[in-house]
C-alpha cells in the first residue's frame, strides 16, 4: 500500500492541516471580535441616557411608567382597575380565573395577573426616583423634578393603600448590582411618600409660577398620605391651598397601545369588568345612582356572556385621561377633617364645593351633564354620625370614581371608623354566574416573585 505520509509524524501532519485551516480563516479577514460584533438597533443603552440632554426623555420616561402603573394600558390593568376590582367599583364579567380571584377577594400570591400590576408600580417608582436623581444632578431647580418626585410619592401612597403590610422597595445600583429593601409597613411607606411630597413642594415652590402644577400635585399627594395616616387635620391644612378646579390627569393617547386608557380597553373594548351595583351586598350602588360624576350605561352582557355589563362613561375613548389629583379631592379632605372635628357647616360647605367643581361625564358626543345638586343642610342634619361618614365616603367614591381611591377608603373605614371588614367590602355569595363565595382580602398580597428578594418572605400581615 502506497502512503507517502507513512514515515512522517502524524502530529506534524495535523499541525500542517491546522495551519492550513488557520491560514484560510485568517485570509478571510477573521478578526474574531469583529465577526462577533452585533448591533442593538432597537434599544438604547444606559450611556445614551445620561447627561442634561437626556432629561427631557427621562422626564417622559417617568410620566410614561407612572401612566402604565396607575392608569394601565391596553394590556395591563393598572392600579385603577385592580383596586376597583377588589373593592366595589368593578365586578368581574369575564372568564379569567386569576382576575376572578381578585374580585372574589381570594387572591393568591402566585396569581399570575397580580405580578405585572405590582411590577409596573415598582418600575414607576424606580424610574421616578432615578429621574429625580438625574434632575438633582443636572437641573435641580427644574419644576419637572418636583413633578417626578411627587409621582414617586404617589406610588408609595398606592402601595400603602392597596397592598398588604410588607412592600419592599429595592434598587438597581449603577454597577448593575442589587440592593434589596426590607419589607415596609404601610405607615413606613406613607412616611416615605410624605418626604417625597415635601421635597417636591420645596422644589416646586422655589420654581414659582412654573412650579404651580407640581406644587398642587404634591400638596394633594401629601394630604392624601396624611389622611391615610389618620392625620386628618394636618391633611386639611396641606390641602387647603389647592384650588377646587385643579386637576392633574394622567394622560392617555391612541398613538400606541401602551398609552391606551386601560379602563376603556378593559370595559368598552373587551367587557372584562363591569361597574358594580351593591356588589356583595355592601358595595355602593354605582349603577343605581348613575351619578353624573360616575355615570354608567348598560351594554348587554360582559365577556362571559352572562354577567350584565355596565360600562363606565368616565372613560369613553382610548385617550380619556385618568385623574390622579383633583382640587375636589382637596375639598373632600377638608370635609373629612371638618366631619372629624364635628363642624357640620364646614363639612357641608366643602362637600358642596367639591360637588360644584366636580367634573361630570357623558357619552361621547353628548354634553356633560350638570354638576350634582348641592346637598342641603337639612339633609346633613338628619344624618347620624355614621350616616355622615357614609355620605362623605360616597361623595369620595363618586368624585374619585376609578382613580384608585376606593380601596384605600374602604380600609380607612375599617381602620379609622371602626367598621368591620365584612360591612364595607363585598361579602357573601359571589357572582352566581361563577359560583363560590367572597373571601376576606382587604388588600393585595405581594406577588410570590418578591421572594427573590432575600429580605422578603411574605406579607408582614394582611391587616387593613
Amino acid at each position: 500500500m502506497s502512503n507517502p505520509m507513512k514515515n512522517r509524524s502524524h502530529f506534524a501532519r495535523a499541525g500542517v492541516m491546522a495551519l492550513t485551516v488557520g491560514a484560510l480563516a485568517t485570509s478571510a479577514g477573521c478578526n474574531q471580535d469583529k465577526l462577533l460584533t452585533v448591533g442593538t438597533p432597537d434599544v438604547v443603552l444606559p450611556s445614551d441616557l445620561t447627561g442634561p440632554a437626556a432629561l427631557g426623555s427621562a422626564y417622559a420616561a417617568a410620566i410614561g411608567d407612572f401612566q402604565v402603573a396607575y392608569a394601565g394600558s391596553s394590556s395591563s390593568e393598572g392600579q385603577v382597575i385592580y383596586s376597583g376590582l377588589l373593592s366595589d367599583e368593578f365586578m368581574n364579567a369575564e372568564t379569567f380565573p386569576t382576575r376572578i380571584e381578585v374580585d372574589r377577594r381570594t387572591t393568591n400570591p402566585i396569581n399570575g395577573s397580580l405580578l405585572p400590576i405590582f411590577q409596573n408600580a415598582q418600575r414607576a417608582r424606580a424610574t421616578a426616583e432615578l429621574v429625580s436623581a438625574s434632575f438633582g444632578q443636572y437641573d435641580p431647580a427644574n419644576p419637572n423634578r418636583a413633578e417626578v418626585q411627587a409621582l414617586a410619592g404617589f406610588v408609595y401612597v398606592l402601595f400603602a393603600e392597596n397592598y398588604c403590610n410588607g412592600v419592599p422597595t429595592s434598587k438597581v445600583n449603577a454597577d448593575g448590582s442589587f440592593t434589596y429593601g426590607d419589607p415596609q409597613t404601610g405607615a413606613q411607606l406613607l412616611t416615605t411618600a410624605i418626604a417625597k411630597f415635601d421635597s417636591a413642594i420645596t422644589v416646586a415652590t422655589a420654581a414659582g409660577t412654573s412650579g404651580a402644577n407640581a406644587l398642587n400635585l404634591a400638596r394633594i399627594g401629601k394630604a392624601r398620605a396624611q389622611l391615610d395616616q389618620n392625620q386628618y387635620a394636618a391633611a386639611a391644612v396641606t390641602a387647603a391651598a389647592v384650588p377646587s378646579t385643579y386637576a392633574y390627569n394622567i394622560l392617555a393617547d391612541e398613538n400606541t397601545s401602551r398609552q391606551y386608557n386601560a379602563v376603556f380597553s378593559y370595559t368598552v373594548t373587551s367587557k372584562r369588568f363591569t361597574v358594580g351595583d351593591r356588589e356583595g351586598g355592601n358595595g355602593l350602588p354605582f349603577v343605581t345612582l348613575n351619578d353624573p360624576r360616575a355615570p354608567v350605561v348598560r351594554t348587554g352582557n360582559g365577556f362571559d356572556n352572562a354577567t350584565p355589563f355596565y360600562q363606565p362613561q368616565k372613560f369613553t375613548t382610548r385617550s380619556s385621561p385618568t385623574p390622579l389629583a383633583l382640587g375636589t379631592e382637596a375639598r373632600l379632605i377638608e370635609a373629612e377633617a371638618a366631619l372629624r372635628a364635628g363642624d357640620d357647616a364646614t363639612f357641608l360647605a366643602k362637600l358642596n364645593d367639591a360637588r360644584a367643581n366636580a367634573k361630570t361625564y357623558a357619552a361621547v358626543g353628548t354634553a356633560a351633564p350638570a354638576s350634582p345638586a348641592p346637598i342641603t343642610a337639612l339633609a346633613v342634619a338628619a344624618l347620624t354620625p355614621t350616616g355622615k361618614q357614609d355620605l362623605l365616603f360616597q361623595e369620595r367614591a363618586l368624585d374619585l370614581f376609578l382613580t384608585s381611591h376606593r380601596l384605600g377608603d374602604l380600609r380607612r373605614l375599617i381602620k379609622y371608623y371602626s367598621r368591620g371588614s365584612e360591612t364595607v367590602f363585598p361579602t357573601g355569595a359571589y357572582n352566581p354566574v361563577k359560583g363560590g363565595t367572597y373571601g376576606g382580602d382587604v388588600n393585595f398580597p405581594i406577588p410570590f416573585e418578591e421572594t427573590n428578594n432575600p429580605q422578603y418572605k411574605a406579607c408582614l400581615d394582611r391587616a387593613p
Binding site: A14, L24, C30, L49, A61, G64, Q259, F448, E449, N452
Partner: protein
C-alpha cells in the same frame, strides 16, 4: 454584516481557487459497480454507496449500478447500505485515472454496523466507528402517503426522539424533544442542519397569536426532498457541533443525482381529513327550588348549595353541540403532486424536484398551499475537486384559524357555548336564562348574538418564502488529505398578517371598524465552515484520522410590524387603514465562531477511539466571559470480530460502545446587556420620545453546558436478521441559563438570565429490528423502538448572596413549576381527595374547605402531581410484504408516564358550567365533580389537581398499503413502474384521558406550558397516492 459575509465569501472563493491550483497534485479515480440482492440476484435500486471518510457517494439506478468519480487514489473503503439489507463495506485500491469495480450482493439484514453517517467535519464514517448512538431515518423507509409534514416524518421513528403534536390544525407546529428537556429557560428544540447548513428551527414562528398554535419552521422541510435524516441525540455525539447542539442535532441530507440516464419520478396524492373526535355537548339542567321556583341553572353548585335558591329537583336537561349544529366543520382534503428528475454523468449529476400541495382542514378557514422546488447539482471541477450546490425553495401560504385560548375560536366558542341552539327557530325562547332573547344566530356559540361564522372573517395568514442553499466543495489535494468547505444560508421571508374587513364582525367597535396588521420578518441562518481531514495508516492494523476545522454561524432576525384600524371596506392593505397606526421593529442577531479538532484511532477496523474538542466564542456571551470548550471522547469495539469471541450461531455481531461529550446553548440576544426600550409618552398633550425598562443585563453570562455520558451495545442475532441496540445515557446540564424572576421591588425587568441551574436527564433506549420471516412470497419485518426518560431539576441554584432561587411557576393558571427535585414543568398543586360522604352522588363543599359538609379534602401544601412529558415511548412498526406487489406497514405509538391538564374541562365545569360534571352530576362522575368543586374554593386552597389526568395513550398513527401495479399498467402510462399507496394517519387512540386528545396542548410549542385548553384535536387523514417512475 455585509463586510463579514463578503469576507466569508472570499474565504470560500479562496478555498476553491487554491483548490483549482492544486488539483493537479492529487490523483483520483472512479469506483463503479452493481448492487444486487444476494438471494434473488435481482438488482437493488436506491442503494446508497459511499466512500467512507470522504464526502463522495452515489446511489444505484434500476439496474443496480452506480458510479462514483473523483475518488482519491489508493486504498479506500466503499460502503453500501439499503433499508432492509445489511450494510457492506469493502476496501479497494483506486487507481489514478482508472476505474475499480466493486460489486455488492446484499443480504437481508437488520444490522447497521456499516451504515454510513455524516460527521461534524463534513466527512462520513461508518456507525461502527462512533461510540455514540446515532439514529438514521432513511427516506425510503418512510411511507410518504402516511405523512403530511416533516414532524410526521420524525415522529415515532427513532428511540429517544419524541415529537409532540399539539393540535389538528393544518400548519400547526410540534415540539421535538431528544432525550428530554435540558434547558429551563432556553429552547429545548434540536439544532437542524440541511446539507451542512444550519436552518431555522423555530418551533413557534409567527408574530400573530391566534390562541395557541403556531407554525413551525420544521415543517417547511419537504419530506419528499429528503434522502436521509440522521439524529445525533445528545452532547456525547454532538460535541463538535458546539454551542447550539445541546438538544441534539437533526442532520438532513437531501436527495442527490446519480450518474446515468435521467430518471423521472412523478407522483400525485389525494386525501381526506375528517374530524372523528367525540366532543362532549354543552349541558344545562333546569329544576326547582324547595318552594317550587324555577331554577334555570340546576348545576352541581346549585344542587349542593345551602341557599334558598338551591335546586332540589331536576326537571330537564338539555344539550347542544354548537360545532355540529352550526356546521362549522366539514371534511377537509389534501392534494399533492410532484415531479423529480435525477441523472448525470461522471462529471456532473443533478437532482431537480418540484412539488405543489394544498390542504384544506376540517375548519373552513384553515388551509395551506405550498410549492417546493429543489435543485441539487454536483460537478467534478477537477480530478480532485468537486462542488455541490444545493438549493431548496419553498413558497407557502397558510391561513390560520382562531382557536385554543380564544373566545373567537371554532372549537373554543363551541366548547364554552350554550346547551341550546340559539338559532333562527326560536328554540332560545324555550330555555330561559340561556339564550339571549334577541339572539337567533349564535347557534349556541359562546358569543351571543353573533353568527359563529362571522369570526371566520378574521383572516390570519402567514406567507413564507424560504430559500435554503449551500455550496459545498470537497478537495482532495493529497491522497491522505481531504478538505471540505461549506457556505450556506437559510433565508426566510415571513409575512404574518391579519385583516378584518369593516362591518362584518359586530363583536365590538374595534371589530366593526376593521383593521389590518402586518408583521414582516426576515430570518437568516448563515453557516460557513472549513474542515480538513487527514488519514494516516501507521500499519495495516492501525489507522489515524485527524480533522481540524472552523465554523462560523450567524442567526439573524429582523421584523417590522405595522398596524392600522378603521379599514376601508374592500382594502386588504395597511394603506386602507385610517386610525390607531402603530409600528414596531425588532432585531435579533447571534453569531458563533468555533474551532474544532478531532483525532480517531482505528485498530484492526474493530476498535475505534475518537477524541475531539470544540471551542466557541459567541456574541451573546457576557463581556466577562470569553470562550467555551466542548471536549468529547468515544470508544467503539466490534467485539464479535475478535478471535476470542465465541462463534455462536445465534450471535452474529456484537459491538460495545461508549461516549462522553459536552455541547451547549448560548444566551439569547441582548440577555447580557442592560438596556432600555423606547416608548412614546404623552406629555402635556403631545407625544414625545421616552423610554422604559428593557433588560437588567448580566455581564457574566456564559453558555449553558450539557455533558452526556452514554454507553450501550449493538447486537446482531440469527445472521443479523435480528438487530438489537441498547443505549443508556446520563446527561447533566450545568450552568443552566435560568431566566430568574427578579424581585419586582427592584423596579427593573421582570426576569434576568443567570447561569444557575443543573438539570439531569437519564434514560434508556432500545431498538429492535427483525426480519421475522423472509420467504419467497412473504416477508415480515418488525421494528420496535422504546425510550425511557427521566428528567428532573437537580438544583435551581443560589443567588449571589447564597440564597436559594425561589421556584418558578409556569403554565396555565400557574399550575406548573420549575422546582428542584422535580421534572421541568411539573404539575404542582395541592392534592385533592374526595368522598361522597352523604352518598347523594354529588360532591359539594358549600361551607368551604374544612367544614363538616365539605366532601373534598385539600392538602395543606402543594405537591408534585405529574409531568406533562412522557416518561416512556414504545413504538411498534410492522411491515408485511407479499411478493413484490403488496406491502402493508403500520406504526403503533404508545406513550406513558405523562399527565395532561384538562383545562377545557375546568372551564366547562367550573366557570361556564356547561360540562357534564356541572350539569349532569351523578355517582358516575364523582371525580370530575370533585375536580370542579376544588377549583371553586377560596385561595390558596383552590386546586386544579383534579384536572391533571393520566394522558397515557396508544395511537395507531399510520397504516399504509402499497401496491406495485402490474407492469402492463405502468407501461400503458409509459412508465417503468407504478405504485399505488393507500394510507391512513391518526386512526385510533386508546386512552383513559377524558378530554378530546391526550396530545392536545394549547401551550403548543412553548417550552413547558402544557394543557388541553379548547384546542382543535388531531384529525384523521386518509390518502391515496400514485407514484410513477420513468
Amino acid at each position: 454584516m455585509e463586510n463579514t459575509f463578503r469576507r466569508l465569501l472570499a474565504a470560500v472563493v479562496i478555498v476553491l481557487a487554491v483548490s483549482s491550483q492544486a488539483v493537479a497534485q492529487g490523483a483520483v479515480g472512479t469506483v463503479a459497480g452493481r448492487v444486487i440482492d444476494r438471494t434473488t440476484q435481482q438488482p437493488l435500486v436506491g442503494a446508497q454507496v459511499r466512500v467512507v471518510g470522504g464526502t463522495r457517494g452515489s446511489s444505484t439506478d434500476e439496474t443496480g449500478t452506480y458510479r462514483i468519480t473523483g475518488v482519491r487514489e489508493g486504498a479506500v473503503q466503499v460502503a453500501v447500505q439499503r433499508i432492509g439489507y445489511g450494510p457492506l463495506s469493502r476496501s479497494v485500491t483506486v487507481p489514478a485515472g482508472g476505474v475499480v469495480t466493486v460489486d455488492f450482493a446484499l443480504a437481508v439484514s437488520a444490522a447497521q454496523l456499516d451504515q454510513v453517517v455524516v460527521t461534524a467535519t463534513g466527512t462520513t464514517e461508518r456507525k461502527r466507528e462512533n461510540g455514540a448512538a446515532t439514529a438514521t431515518i432513511d427516506s425510503s423507509a418512510l411511507n410518504k402517503a402516511a405523512i403530511s409534514t416533516f414532524a410526521d416524518a420524525l415522529s415515532s421513528r427513532a428511540p429517544g426522539v419524541v415529537v409532540m403534536t399539539a393540535a389538528g390544525e393544518t400548519g400547526a407546529g410540534s415540539r421535538v424533544r431528544i432525550r428530554g428537556s435540558n434547558s429551563i429557560s432556553l429552547s429545548n428544540e434540536p439544532l437542524i442542519i440541511v446539507d451542512g447548513t444550519r436552518v431555522d428551527n423555530s418551533p413557534s414562528s409567527t408574530a400573530i397569536g391566534t390562541g395557541g398554535q403556531s407554525p413551525s419552521r420544521l415543517n417547511d422541510i419537504n419530506p419528499e426532498d429528503i434522502e436521509n435524516v440522521e439524529i445525533i441525540k445528545g452532547p456525547a455525539a454532538a460535541a463538535l457541533y458546539g454551542t447550539a447542539a445541546a438538544n441534539g442535532v437533526i442532520q438532513i441530507t437531501t436527495k442527490k443525482g446519480r450518474a446515468g440516464q435521467t430518471k423521472w419520478d412523478v407522483f400525485t396524492e389525494t386525501g381526506r381529513l375528517t374530524d372523528v373526535n367525540n366532543y362532549e355537548p354543552n349541558f344545562r339542567s333546569y329544576g326547582k327550588t324547595a318552594t317550587g321556583t324555577l331554577v334555570t341553572n340546576c348545576s352541581l353548585y346549585s344542587r349542593v348549595s345551602l341557599a334558598a335558591t338551591k335546586c332540589v329537583g331536576v326537571d330537564s336537561t338539555i344539550s347542544n353541540n354548537p360545532l355540529q349544529v352550526a356546521g362549522m366543520e366539514s371534511d377537509g382534503n389534501r392534494r399533492l403532486a410532484g415531479v423529480s428528475a435525477a441523472g448525470g454523468s461522471d462529471v456532473a449529476t443533478y437532482f431537480l424536484s418540484g412539488e405543489y400541495q394544498k390542504e384544506q382542514n376540517v375548519i373552513q378557514v384553515n388551509n395551506s398551499q405550498r410549492m417546493s422546488i429543489r435543485t441539487n447539482v454536483r460537478g467534478q471541477l477537477a480530478k480532485s475537486l468537486d462542488a455541490q450546490i444545493s438549493i431548496g425553495f419553498t413558497n407557502s401560504d397558510l391561513r390560520r384559524p382562531q382557536n385554543d385560548n380564544n373566545a373567537f375560536g371554532v372549537v373554543s366558542g363551541s366548547q364554552l357555548g350554550k346547551a341550546a341552539d340559539c338559532g333562527p327557530n326560536g328554540l332560545n325562547l324555550q330555555h330561559p336564562n340561556l339564550c339571549s332573547a334577541t339572539d337567533t344566530v349564535s347557534r349556541g356559540y359562546y358569543n351571543a348574538g353573533l353568527p359563529p361564522k362571522a369570526f371566520y372573517n378574521i383572516n390570519t395568514r402567514q406567507g413564507v418564502q424560504r430559500l435554503t442553499g449551500s455550496l459545498t466543495s470537497n478537495w482532495t489535494p493529497l491522497s491522505w488529505l481531504a478538505v471540505n468547505g461549506t457556505f450556506g444560508g437559510d433565508l426566510d421571508n415571513r409575512n404574518d398578517n391579519e385583516t378584518l374587513q369593516p362591518n362584518v364582525l359586530a363583536y365590538s367597535q374595534n371589530t366593526l371598524d376593521g383593521y389590518r396588521t402586518v408583521d414582516r420578518a426576515f430570518v437568516a441562518n448563515y453557516t460557513s465552515s472549513l474542515n480538513a481531514t487527514a488519514t494516516y495508516e501507521r500499519s495495516p492494523t492501525l489507522k489515524f484520522t485527524s480533522a481540524v476545522g472552523t465554523q462560523y454561524t450567524d442567526v439573524y432576525f429582523t421584523r417590522t410590524d405595522a398596524f392600522g384600524a378603521k379599514l376601508l371596506g374592500g382594502s386588504n392593505s395597511l394603506a386602507g387603514t385610517n386610525a390607531r397606526f402603530s409600528v414596531g421593529e425588532s432585531t435579533n442577531d447571534v453569531r458563533t465562531l468555533g474551532f474544532l479538532g478531532r483525532e480517531q484511532l482505528a485498530w484492526r477496523d474493530r476498535v475505534f477511539l475518537t477524541a475531539g474538542i470544540r471551542s466557541d466564542k459567541n456574541s451573546a456571551f457576557g463581556q466577562n466571559y470569553s470562550r467555551v470548550f466542548y471536549p468529547s471522547l468515544s470508544g467503539s469495539w466490534v467485539v464479535s470480530e475478535e478471535n476470542f469471541f465465541p462463534k455462536v450461531q445465534a450471535i452474529s455481531s456484537l459491538r460495545l460502545r461508549a461516549a462522553v461529550g459536552a455541547a451547549g446553548q448560548n444566551p439569547g440576544y441582548l440577555a447580557a446587556e442592560q438596556y432600555y426600550s423606547p416608548v412614546a409618552v404623552v406629555v402635556n398633550g403631545v407625544d414625545v420620545p421616552g423610554f422604559t425598562i428593557g433588560g437588567a443585563g448580566n455581564t457574566s453570562l456564559r453558555p449553558e453546558k450539557s455533558t452526556e455520558v452514554e454507553g450501550g451495545f449493538d447486537l446482531g442475532l440469527l445472521n443479523d436478521r435480528v438487530n438489537f441496540e441498547y443505549t443508556h445515557y446520563n446527561k447533566i446540564t450545568k450552568d443552566a441559563l435560568v431566566n430568574v424572576n427578579l424581585a419586582p421591588s427592584l423596579g427593573t425587568s421582570a426576569t434576568r438570565f443567570q447561569n444557575l441551574g443543573r438539570v439531569r436527564n437519564y434514560g434508556d433506549e432500545a431498538l429492535l429490528r427483525a426480519t421475522l420471516y423472509d420467504g419467497k412470497l412473504v416477508k415480515f419485518d418488525l421494528t420496535l423502538n422504546g425510550s425511557w426518560t427521566t428528567n428532573h431539576l437537580d438544583d435551581l441554584g443560589t443567588d449571589a448572596l447564597g440564597n436559594r432561587i425561589p421556584d418558578i411557576t409556569a403554565g396555565f393558571s400557574s399550575t406548573q413549576i420549575i422546582k428542584t427535585g422535580l421534572p421541568l414543568g411539573a404539575y404542582y398543586q395541592r392534592a385533592l381527595t374526595y368522598n361522597d360522604a352523604n352518598g347523594d352522588g354529588l360532591i359539594g363543599c358549600p361551607n368551604g374547605r374544612g367544614s363538616a359538609d365539605c366532601e373534598v379534602t385539600i392538602a395543606d401544601s402543594a405537591s408534585y402531581q405529574g409531568s406533562p412529558f412522557p416518561a416512556a415511548e414504545i413504538v411498534v412498526a410492522p411491515s408485511l410484504s407479499l411478493g413484490r406487489f403488496f406491502r402493508v406497514t403500520a406504526t403503533l405509538d404508545h406513550r406513558s408516564g405523562q399527565k395532561l391538564f384538562n383545562y377545557t374541562s375546568n372551564y366547562r365545569n367550573q366557570l361556564i358550567q356547561n360540562g357534564s360534571a356541572a350539569q349532569t352530576p351523578s355517582s358516575s362522575n364523582l371525580a370530575a365533580q370533585a375536580a370542579a368543586v376544588a377549583t371553586t374554593l377560596a385561595a390558596p386552597y383552590n386546586t386544579y389537581a383534579g384536572y391533571f389526568e393520566n394522558a397515557t395513550f396508544t395511537k395507531l398513527r399510520e397504516v399504509a398499503v402499497t401496491l406495485t401495479l402490474p407492469q402492463r399498467f405502468a407501461s400503458q402510462l409509459h412508465a417503468g413502474s407504478a405504485n399505488l399507496t393507500l394510507a391512513g394517519r391518526n386512526l385510533h387512540t386508546w386512552t383513559n384521558y377524558t378530554g378530546l386528545d391526550p396530545e392536545s396542548n394549547a401551550g403548543a410549542q412553548a417550552n413547558f406550558t402544557t394543557a388541553e385548553f379548547l384546542t382543535a384535536p388531531q384529525v384523521r387523514m386518509f390518502t391515496a397516492r400514485l407514484a410513477l417512475s420513468f
